[in-house]
Symmetry: C2
């Protein structure tokens, strides 16, 4: 049976799976990510799986890798990685030296978008915007059935779209990036400001101290109807909605797929995002935009990476 190995390099773990042409996972491996040796970690999980391949009677027809950063789509070389050092930045060549099959390396949000496009919530559509909301905001865009990669693999950085030129500084170097409002980091920032004004918020009770606040604490407080937490998530969600309106004006997608840990904050965050986007669509007399949660969950990356090299 024809299969491929899909690898998803995350901040804490490097996950991999043998995936068939229907997007089914046949075997898995996961190892902790070594922040100073990303490429070695990729090779290690591939070795884990190739050793399992004979027992499964499958042929490994390729390897797809998704990782955070800019990847040159032609060479498979990592040109910029924000959090992780690749001991060999030419990831595609390093993998090919280990296993002689076609190798495709791409941005992690791109491969997750490809997974949802091929086998997830966006299956059967051709114009798909996927937005990943975790610590930061990532994105992947399927345009007329192909991934938007840009000239050097540095496209689809929706999190660094500036929507408030005088807004708070972003580690990327700009000010007022979408990520500074709509991500986990943005929610944390807004919440620290908010509990300074109102220390009675149960956000503080969950977090202990202001500096320990995470988006999770805010979501927990919001579930208990804490008004400060709900206001923070409303601001974050509304700003996400503005970002999604920009996505609609630029891409005119059939669906916007949302994924990432912050989506679990649920309605106090997603409601204002949807409402804002709907209001903006309506004001422009645009058709309503479908918004869905991703259906492959944490497997979108490994499935998408494998699908990308099989396609």
């Amino acid at each position: 049976m024809r299969t491929a190995i899909g690898v998803d390099v995350g901040g804490t773990g490097t996950k991999a799976a043998i995936v068939d042409t229907e997007g089914r996972i046949l075997a898995r491996s996961e190892r902790p990510t070594d922040p100073s040796a990303g490429t070695k970690g990729i090779i290690a999980v591939i070795d884990d799986l190739t050793s399992k391949a004979p027992d499964l009677s499958v042929e490994i027809g390729g390897v797809g890798v998704g990782l955070a950063g800019f990847v040159d789509p032609a060479s498979g070389k990592v040109s910029f990685s924000p959090n992780l050092t690749y001991d060999d930045p030419n990831v595609a060549a390093a993998v090919r030296a280990r296993i002689d099959v076609p190798v495709q390396v791409d941005n992690d949000a791109n491969v997750a978008a490809w997974g949802e496009y091929r086998f997830g919530t966006a299956k059967g559509l051709e114009h798909v915007a996927m937005v990943t909301i975790g610590t930061g905001v990532g994105s992947g865009f399927v345009v007329a059935g192909g991934l938007l990669r840009g000239a050097t693999g540095a496209a689809a950085e929706l999190g660094h779209m500036v929507i408030a030129p005088d807004g708070p500084p972003c580690p990327c170097g700009l000010r007022g990036c979408l990520e500074q409002f709509a991500s986990g980091t943005g929610i944390r920032r807004l919440a620290i400001e908010a509990v300074e004004q109102d220390p009675s918020s149960s956000i503080l009770a969950f977090a202990g101290t202001a500096s320990s606040i995470t988006a999770k604490h805010v979501a927990m407080a919001a579930r208990q109807l804490d008004e400060v937490a709900r206001t923070v998530l409303r601001t974050a969600g509304r700003t996400l909605g503005i970002g999604l309106s920009n996505v609609v004006n630029i891409f005119d997608p059939q669906v916007i797929v949302l994924t990432g840990g912050v989506v679990n904050a649920g309605e106090p965050y997603l409601g204002p995002a949807r409402d804002t986007l709907n209001e903006m669509n309506l004001a422009q007399r645009r058709r309503a935009t479908r918004i869905d949660k991703a259906s492959l969950g944490n497997d979108a990356g490994v499935i998408g990476a494998a699908a990308l090299v099989l396609d």
Copy 2:
């Protein structure tokens, strides 16, 4: 010789040309645009040119049409047109009923981008962002050698990317659209505000009254080193630069091509735009982005429309 007719429907005139496969214009026609009968006007300029075709010994292999609005890329039907009524919104079918050749109808900024991509300043590149700055801000994006059209032909509306959520209202229904700062309309708005504060500006001397101010008066005053005019153009240009940084973060293009009347305001406008984009690229440690003026000028539309149907 194989040629096509390219049609460019503007607010005042409907232009058309017979264009060969090398992008050369062999014959032209132009008629005033009837705001209540856009489709009839298109047919009329096509008739003008088909009558000239025998003398030129050319074969008309297709008709391409560019017009302002949303065009369904598959059917060639206009679904939204801001300034003009199409007596028959199914423009492609109406043209085909008159001349039995392949017909392609697209957004005007898209066809102009296609012209610059095939025969203009972006020739030989595959990732091109074209931004048209006139009364409004339009855009066309070539992504991996294809035009970004979106699911319903409503993509590439860069002018309505919100970059200041609490900013001035835009006729589109949103607030703080890029167009409200960086376009002719935006420059006019900023200038009216500015001369209220400082009526000694020579903008007023050129325009007569505040309500008659256009971007041209501001550009004239700026050329005479009027500080109020230069501040207005600096604000408009810087905001354009922020919009272009967003284009870079989303598309990672090889070149950004600028066109449209406001580009003629020159360095007092373009300098701050380029400087802002360069500063933002540098802050993000991105490579510098090439910015060029369009090279086909007012012919980009007719050449691009013809090329689109020939390609």
